[in-house]
Symmetry: D2
Subunit: 312 residues, 4 copies
Amino acid sequence: MAYGGDDVTAQLQQVVREVFEHPTARVFPVTSGTAANALALSATCPPWGSVLCHDTAHIMNSEGGATSMFGGGAVMRGVGGSGFRMDPDALQTTLDAVRWRDPHHSQPAALSFTQPSDFGTIYTCAQISGLTEVSRSAGLRAHLDGARFANALVALGCSPADMTWAAGIDVVSLGATKNGALSCEAIVSFDDRIAEELVYRTKRSGHVTSKMRFQSAQMIAYLTDDLWLRLAANSNERMAQLAAGLRDLEVAFVNEPDVNMAFVRVSDDVATALERDLWFYRIGTGVIRFVTSWQTTQADIDATLELFAAAL
Amino acid sequence: MAYGGDDVTAQLQQVVREVFEHPTARVFPVTSGTAANALALSATCPPWGSVLCHDTAHIMNSEGGATSMFGGGAVMRGVGGSGFRMDPDALQTTLDAVRWRDPHHSQPAALSFTQPSDFGTIYTCAQISGLTEVSRSAGLRAHLDGARFANALVALGCSPADMTWAAGIDVVSLGATKNGALSCEAIVSFDDRIAEELVYRTKRSGHVTSKMRFQSAQMIAYLTDDLWLRLAANSNERMAQLAAGLRDLEVAFVNEPDVNMAFVRVSDDVATALERDLWFYRIGTGVIRFVTSWQTTQADIDATLELFAAAL
Amino acid sequence: MAYGGDDVTAQLQQVVREVFEHPTARVFPVTSGTAANALALSATCPPWGSVLCHDTAHIMNSEGGATSMFGGGAVMRGVGGSGFRMDPDALQTTLDAVRWRDPHHSQPAALSFTQPSDFGTIYTCAQISGLTEVSRSAGLRAHLDGARFANALVALGCSPADMTWAAGIDVVSLGATKNGALSCEAIVSFDDRIAEELVYRTKRSGHVTSKMRFQSAQMIAYLTDDLWLRLAANSNERMAQLAAGLRDLEVAFVNEPDVNMAFVRVSDDVATALERDLWFYRIGTGVIRFVTSWQTTQADIDATLELFAAAL
Amino acid sequence: MAYGGDDVTAQLQQVVREVFEHPTARVFPVTSGTAANALALSATCPPWGSVLCHDTAHIMNSEGGATSMFGGGAVMRGVGGSGFRMDPDALQTTLDAVRWRDPHHSQPAALSFTQPSDFGTIYTCAQISGLTEVSRSAGLRAHLDGARFANALVALGCSPADMTWAAGIDVVSLGATKNGALSCEAIVSFDDRIAEELVYRTKRSGHVTSKMRFQSAQMIAYLTDDLWLRLAANSNERMAQLAAGLRDLEVAFVNEPDVNMAFVRVSDDVATALERDLWFYRIGTGVIRFVTSWQTTQADIDATLELFAAAL
């Protein structure tokens, strides 16, 4: 059976319910994180609504306006906070300033977390709960962009349930591609109304593949026997080693590298020297980004630190 | 002839070309400022583009996401600057940070001025030119939201051409409703590509009324014999008198009241006392907004100042 | 108070409830019929839904795709039937062929009547009820495009309630412009969910005018003391006289001119001769359209018939 | 490099140019046929436009309105014709009836072929050329939905160029998934304006996967050494054998099985009997659909014919 009507996808449904300890969770495999985020939010926020997220959120800065397109003109609004995390007071201030039910003003309808943030920091479960308590009391539902979901989970040492529905999250973008899978992401919904819309929204946006079973099979393997956690643990640990080594070299960080991403401050000369042997992004002036993966080895880290020592 | 195919609308076309001193300007009467802004921008910015505007722009804060809806998911991005005006350096910084032609990032395509701003301040023609020079060199076209266009014109003492196409503006939302007319706004385009799209975009959004001739007739009268300027001059002058009187009373202003709007700081007690006899908006805590109109008389101002003196 | 927050619009709300004999009806004044139709349908049909209507429906053929734009990509599907009216059996066949809940297929969600049709024919109340019984049992809600609502009402001799909610209609586009008013149309909703959405949808599409009170005042006058019915009765009666005269001249009709529109078959020579003195539309080859109005007089009809007699 | 910035995708670009014998063709890998079709059309038809296609086109009937969603409200209009193919005269009649440049009427902007049709029939290259000559002279561009592109190519014995740009096609949905690949489809554009838009439209709809290289690698292998043609040839030949066998059994066909699909008329009893051992779709009453694939063997066909013989 094509288009997700197959047994493997049905089995994935069960696996997700077990892993997330939620009896009615629904899973929708898609092929990209942008699809997962924008479709999840389009089912959560009406066209006249707004999605609140941190000023640095991936959905606002790196998806070409996908949320507004799939959202029928819904807008995104930044909420400030240090550590690339929304601050509960800033959120409360934003919500207090809303003219509710006044159609001249986009009505906040969804809160979206980037977990981990695009700058490698994470919210604790308590921080997520704290924010969703504020937003929920104003009627918003909550979305978590988990392109690196497993990395956050491992760093927090909590369960998938703890970090999502138990902390007030209604719908999750569950990424596997960055942690080893092939074009394999999924939307996990804990809210029946969201799930009902996603049945239609995924298809008409071309995100229901005919051979979905191959995505579902990957996702089952990924979620089974803690494979996802072991892969994420490797990337987090390698980053911890890299960060420790860089600190020994007195390199400064833009972020706390909570997971597998570090943003470090280096001079242009150092960056240029490193570029001969390493692959990384330059983020504006004087900052470069390192990301470790499920494949990164101890030897990779050692070699990187040696190159760093030489370049400094 | 219905739907703008009439002689009066044809005559308006000529009047607009004369008043704006532009031989190929095109005019599209619509019935609201939100329609004028969002439709003009939808013809200027592609769905994957972004509209840059001041953080306090009306289009971003008070139109319920209309620009994103009509724009097919185009987003709006705030540019900072004092006096409720975009700052050229802030604009340049924003443009320098863009990853051009990278589809992960909304591509800036339009710069939108709110002239006067929602806080009663105006850009000089030189300020408009300075900003459009920056934006034009990055390929953006420019829109001016002129819900109170005539008030700005009178305050600047310049011609419609000076404040628009001669300063780099491609398309204007020309408001008449706030200055005496009835559901009478218009889009004025100096760019043929924008105008071509507006033929279709206005109709399919329900903004081509069958009896357009009654809007066109109003707009012709409005633009003839300086009626629009005389009406705006009255409201600006009354506000100048009110502001002078309030300064004598040592009332503080949030803005420079360049046109017919003042935002003044008063205690809650004073605001409550004034509300018995006056009608105004409270803007957050400790600020109230006064707007004078084409109908406001010297006696109205005197009475207001007396009430103020009593309340303080 | 601007934007419909005024007393006149509040009074219109009451008038509409009385005229439609519905205690919770909600009215939304807009400035065009296209706006009324497309906004009403966007609040009735989800983006993944389809609107069923007659193959000749105005919404499908003459609004530039407005329903699909405001509907976020909702599609329109034609249902056949003679007399420019949907046929219950054709509707049933269409609904029987739907693969319900299969997201590959647009899900019918709304049935839209053009009453009168663009070809001057009307549904009886029983015909409307018969069709909505079919559609309602499949879960569709029903919309009535009443650009010439009063003309149909007068022709049927029924009450507004009879022709709408009592016959299964959930939301109406109530036109007044074609029957004497100025840019004055309204959406009347009998369904709270539709009304709730319209609060936001009307504003963000630029269809909430700041001086709405002038539309509301017109609509109150229009609905009071049977003014709307008297105006419509005049146009219907004049058409009946014209049609009788044309039949005496052995002119053939495309339609039964139930209201104030006749589509008559004439040779090109006759059409050309008539065009010297009369204004009408040519509809394809060999058919011309006549419309009478609230202003048409007996003398107009006599003169038209004389011109016809001469041209034949 | 992620998101298509890799060497494999660059190589695919060259392969596509060679295979299609077009020096500036551009290829955009996506993961579903719906994405390919709707995105290609959204870059070809403006929001106020219409896409003309056969009444039975896949885009109109089986993609949940994707073309209207991505098209910003663009509509689809059916054109009749026998054999599930648009008829040139019907197309000309449709175009002649258009009120060009009248914004009340959706403006035809694209012609879309389903090749092969959803009912297993194909257009010859001359038929495609004949239709695009008609549409091109009215200013339309042309799209070909080639979910089973290779099957049509093999059946026609022509080159990819013959069936596309040389026959007036501007943009193609090139399917590989149904012919053996995994979530591997592509848009191939011969028009620079379409390609420029697709850079942004693919990303913001979530159809630019980060590991695009795995799709590109599949597509390169698919297009190399005639693999795609050999796979398609197998499915076409198996269907020819099946069809010959069924004709011997005096089974009637709805279609000419030009490629690998047959729609055959059987009684309900026969269908029920066959369902015990075979997997197929029932299409309405009395018709079942058989599809052969790149994997189907001679033995499969023999077995199927035996089951048929037994069931009849």
